[in-house]
Amino acid sequence: MAIYSVYIINKAGGLIYQYDHFTNRPEVEKTFSFPFEIVLKVFDEKVVVAFGERDGIKVGHTVLAINGKPVEGRYLQDGRDIMEFLASPENFPLDVKFGRPKLTTNEKIMLASMFHSLFAIGSQLSPDLRSSGIEVLETDTFKLHCHQTMTGVKFIVIADPKQAHIDVLLKKLYEVYTDFALKNPFYSLDMPIRCDLFDSNLQGAIEQSEKLGISNI
């Protein structure tokens, strides 16, 4: 039971606000000896598992830390390339921590505009008259809820599939947006929201909704 994250997208598909509330990303740390049995590749400036799933390490996981020290993209903190570091026998045995990569800001912006288009295609492919775009998207690990306002702003909440009363939360988030972003004289429309009062009220709304979701079961 949890609310994972919130996205707010403006009418042009640009991400104007994003908040990660709760994440328990799976992380696995394991000691390896030479030769390194997991096949890695460099993808999008990250070192990703390409082959050799074992002990909870899945294809698509990235290298998060080596010997307890977090890595920076495809390099170690001292600037050495991870792929070269793992290819030389004198560095072994070593501990490598794998996990799902955290989304970068760029990826979040890209995913937001991607959803904006999917929303439009969803309504175009409708077999029934006057359909809206995607409102709820269900997968086995999360449920995405989307509320589009009259002015085209989209509020997206990603939550646990069993979390109830997300529609109430979406309405509440809209209220918070009108009260603390739109009524703020320093906020310009369709631009990223940077306002402490908005942040704290949004977090309050999410926490309240989580309690509501639990007490109603």
Binding site: L118, G122, Q124, S126, P127, S132, E135, V136, E138
Partner: protein
């Protein structure tokens, strides 16, 4: 409750089968374009879901809902995709889609030596069995409108 339409795509994006029952609105583009748009949307949703998911996913995308319809998605390990559009009253159709795959597609297409697996399905037997199966579903409930 009703069923609007049904698609089968192979793993390369070819539309193998399309059938519609109570569809009220056409998309306004040619059927070929519509299949491409549908496949493209599902392909993007799959990649979107994979990336935005907070934890590791197993089955991935299951269905989505708009204000008027619900799209159900089922993918076999071989990459065959079955898609069904129903109205909002229908619950999870995953079992139904799996049943269509295992008792109709496998029986009347895979086991039919005259059917090529990467070409649109021409078999009349398959089409009639599919139609019969869909019409017999409780969610189909012929709505007079």
């Amino acid at each position: 409750m009703t069923i609007f339409d049904f698609y089968i795509f192979d793993r390369n994006g070819t539309c193998l089968c399309y059938a519609e029952w109570n569809r009220k609105k056409q998309s306004g583009i040619s059927k070929d374009e519509e299949y491409k748009l549908m496949y493209g949307m599902l392909f993007s949703i799959k990649s979107f879901v994979n990336r935005i998911s907070p934890t590791d996913i197993k089955d991935g995308f299951l269905n989505f809902k708009t204000s008027k319809y619900m799209l159900h998605f089922y993918e076999t390990p071989s990459g065959l995709k079955l898609i069904m559009n129903t109205d909002l009253g229908a619950g999870s159709m995953r079992d139904v889609l799996h049943q269509i795959y295992s008792t109709i597609y496998v029986e009347y297409v895979v086991k039919n030596p005259l059917c090529e697996l990467d070409k649109p399905i021409l078999s009349e037997l398959f089409k009639s069995k599919l139609d019969e199966f869909i019409r017999s579903l409780p969610v189909f409930a012929s709505k007079v409108s």
